[in-house]
Point group: C2
Chain length 331, copies 2
């Protein structure tokens, strides 16, 4: 049995979120699809930022948010993601390290600017994301230390990073190491555009047995299975992966493993403020349960509790110690 220093090691985009309120008219004038994510280049990021209202900045990034949630739950974590050697990079590195996360990827001065996600939050708490990937997409395979991957119980991969070529190579390398080391591989589809662009590739990963735990929201699951029926998607994908987790926003979440299935409702909340990070924190709770061997239902409940915390305030990282919210679920 190898030494597992980390419950979860994640590879993802290292991004600073820039969060501003906006009204529906602004989204319309900008031609944005509410609730969606689109990639933008640096010139568009500058133009859009100039058009936005006053903002607050906070570390983000999908898998990084998940790792922050896992750390808040008391799990041992490591993160790999590329930053530039600039002030926003310093903010991201500080924030993740101050959570106790092992983060060793060096900031580089040859990768442009640190990634930014311009997030517009409307009065209905929906977030619409515009991501300039910058340095994050320059993550190379040499940033992956095989010893670290082999030292993790679970390797968690962010689908957003499947799009650019260099990070994809880094993730292939990590998956190979994980298979040899007996490290479970978890993968989140991240966004329907990722599924659209890489459906064949993603199905091949599943068919080859490279993914042990697949996270998808309803739209992503339906898109990957090419059906408009969520139950049909669950049946199709559930047959291709050891563990499938499907999140359904306010309709709760479900997981299937072999012949077993569990469904949980969404946690009740006092006030919905900003849905940014809901899926990321759901994954944190579920992975914590998996790492502790709690079984599908308790892992799903942990996911729902973590997601409920993050949607009740601005920003995609927990502001409450999740270990306390988890209560005896994690004892």
């Amino acid at each position: 049995m190898p030494d597992r220093r980390f419950d979860v090691l994640a590879i993802g985009n290292a991004i600073v979120d820039v969060i501003a309120d906006a009204d529906d008219g602004f989204l319309e004038r900008e031609g944005m699809h509410k609730g969606g994510m689109r990639l933008i280049d640096e010139a568009e990021a500058t133009r859009l930022y100039d058009a936005m209202g006053p903002a607050r900045e906070a570390s983000g990034g999908s898998a990084a948010n998940t790792v922050a949630g896992l750390a808040s739950l008391g799990l041992a974590t490591s993160f790999i993601g590329q930053l530039a050697d600039d002030q926003l990079g310093g903010i991201f590195a500080h924030d993740i390290r101050s959570l106790g996360v092992d983060f060793g990827t060096a900031q580089r001065d040859d990768v442009g600017a640190t990634a930014r996600c311009l997030i517009l939050v409307t009065a209905d708490a929906q977030r619409t994301m515009n991501t300039f990937l910058g340095a994050a997409q320059m993550l190379g395979a040499n940033a992956v230390d095989p010893a670290d991957v082999a030292a993790a119980s679970i390797l968690y991969l962010e689908g957003y990073l499947w799009d650019p070529a260099d990070p994809r190579a880094a993730m292939y390398k990590a998956m190979d190491v994980a298979r040899d080391a007996g490290t479970k591989v978890a993968f989140t589809l991240s966004d329907s555009f990722v599924v659209d662009r890489h459906r064949a590739d993603l199905n091949r990963l599943l068919d080859e047995g490279r993914i042990d735990i697949l996270f998808a929201n309803q739209a992503e699951a339906e898109s990957l299975a090419q059906t408009d029926d969520v139950e049909a998607a669950v049946t199709a994908l559930g047959g291709k992966v050891e563990t499938l987790v499907v999140t359904r926003s306010e309709h709760g979440a479900l997981a299937v493993r072999g012949g077993e299935r569990a469904d949980v409702p969404a946690e009740p909340i006092a006030r919905l403020v900003d849905t940014t990070g809901a899926g990321d924190l759901f994954a944190a709770g579920f992975l914590a349960g998996e790492a502790r061997g709690l079984g599908l239902e308790r892992s799903l409940r942990l996911g729902a509790i973590c997601a409920a915390e993050v949607i009740q305030h601005y920003g995609a990282r927990p502001e409450t110690r999740l270990r306390a919210l988890a209560g005896d679920l994690l004892d």
Copy 2:
């Protein structure tokens, strides 16, 4: 009658706040005085930041927060403050311009780094501030355009900036222009340490009639008047300035002008989160009332309403449109 394009033109520190939760033990270990502000150098800012928990970033600066409040109340404002040509400088410039504030001070690459205030918020909502002034204290007199000062009804000066020599010269220049142009001069004492270091200078400003409106909290007023009795301080300072405003946290605020005096209680609030910006936003409300000629009591009530908004969330800038909260007070 000159053309008054601006209700208020302010000169202040251009600072980005870095806000993190902390417990009392952290403040004790760091030897910090809870609720206070201290100046730190860049090396100490780096060391303290490394020791802090995850943070969120948002534009701050005392007079800049006041200007943000005035803009949110619908008043026409201008701001002068020095930024470096770095990412945090870009954040500050974006945030203040996106509020509709006229801000023309060029970011410079020869002034070090943009100022940062490391703010530790404890569970009792008290903020303890550690300020690295950086570029902000490099503000020069040539950044003050006399035509802009003459075009303002009120010139608002931040006492924090009285400490470094170059900005003090800039403020002297602005006061001279204001006197010739009939622009009222408002001054906030900012902090007891400013009063301690510059008591003779500040008393001379008052004796020479250079200040028309003086803002102080209770501790600052008592320190300037060298008494431990707030009523004695009000009597002493009220005789030396046309309008005196004294804020007293949860005990409300008072103002005196000639033989007139008004007292208002603090506004009731639902939950106290972070007191950062309370005095700055109080000044915004009061100055808005002054600019509209509403009289002492209504101006104080506007101040109390604006302060109540900002202490119910993290960060020192309003998150609600203050014009709506002000209701018929500003009609």
